[in-house]
Symmetry: C2
Subunit: 218 residues, 2 copies
């Protein structure tokens, strides 16, 4: 059974990814991060999903260094903006270099366990406002992954060329309980329905033509 | 004044690098890491050097996640081997993916402060046993640094094509107080004189023809 590390937030994309990898027969270790995000709620969802799927789950807690991410609305006392991802105002939700940090820590953990496959949920709907989701980043990171250890690490990003609505479709096919995924940045009890990621989540279900089971405040 | 982040361990190479950058007129912010290394002593030297040079110093403490580096002699209850770096036995001193993690965290800190230059002490004498010091790694990392933010980050590695003895010569030229640098992995009161990095340190002074002021146990 091929071993793989899956970077797993508990959000919609990475939950579908986790189901997909398990479905394809991988021996998956899910790695989640506490980085002082407002929405640590996603980590409860991550733990529950791993329990349901009987997948090993490693939580890496870097919340003690949250100050290096100073100024992001996802971690700081800056308001999470409402609206669409494409808007300039969303830049405050960028966490500097977050993805490369997560991926590199996940690789380190994998190397220690001699796991040389790494998967994460980068997808074509990822937004220009996040530099570290763009194809140039993914390509550069994949090359780096070949160099950091004695063995090259293979990066597997099955959603790279599909959009979020296609991920929803794939999730439906795999029987993913969408109610057990968390997207909202605001950290409330239920999804706010107006932040960038809630807006995107709603749209993805609509475009996929699949009933959205999410309870939104607005 | 051009701002730059310098990844700074308090060891010989990065101390010479810091002096060099200051000497060249950069506005330097030094970034050091506590990663649960046995030789946290190096961090005292790092702090002292920054004080002497009046350089801003940021310590990023990731010691809480040291378990992801499981199995390295630099962090774990595994003996630090004596001998020369080229030996197979030295592999236990590899900390998985350490350099990329440090560099990526340093970049995140820099982005938050709008500092788009990053320097570290990679040099031609770095050893095949450390995958993340090889030219292929440096090249891949430099490309990644161009992609992680809106602005490309320039990586400056002035020692990339010189050997450690040349770094010693450069340090002598710049008036670096070598006594205020720490190399030894073993974490004793003075340099052990027999671990890989002590062996290399001794040799570098000999090859440079410069008196080694270091006090060694053996």
């Amino acid at each position: 059974m091929k071993k793989i590390i899956c970077v797993f937030s508990g959000g919609l994309d990475s939950t579908v990814l986790l189901y997909k990898l398990v479905n394809e027969g991988y021996d998956v270790t899910a790695v989640s991060f506490n980085y002082g995000q407002r929405h640590t709620k996603e980590l409860e969802y991550a733990a529950k999903t791993c329990g349901n799927l009987n997948v090993k789950h490693k939580l890496i807690d870097i919340s003690s260094i949250v100050d290096i991410f100073a100024g992001s609305a996802l971690t700081d006392a800056v308001d999470v903006p409402a609206g669409h991802y494409e808007e300039e105002s969303m830049k405050v939700t960028v966490v500097p270099n977050r993805n490369s940090i997560f991926l590199n820590l996940a690789m380190a953990y994998g190397i220690g366990k001699r796991i040389y496959n790494l998967s994460y949920g980068a997808h074509a709907g990822d937004h220009e406002i996040y530099p570290d989701t763009r194809p140039a980043f993914v390509e550069a990171f994949n090359k780096l992954a070949k160099t950091v250890d004695y063995e090259p690490i293979d990066v597997i990003t099955p959603f790279l060329n599909i959009r979020k609505e296609d991920i929803v479709k794939e999730g439906a096919r795999l029987g993913v309980p969408f109610n057990n995924t968390w997207s909202c940045y605001s950290g409330g009890k239920i999804h706010c329905g107006v932040c960038g990621t809630c807006t995107e989540r709603k749209e993805a279900f609509q475009l996929a033509g699949i009933k959205d089971p999410t309870e939104y405040e607005e």
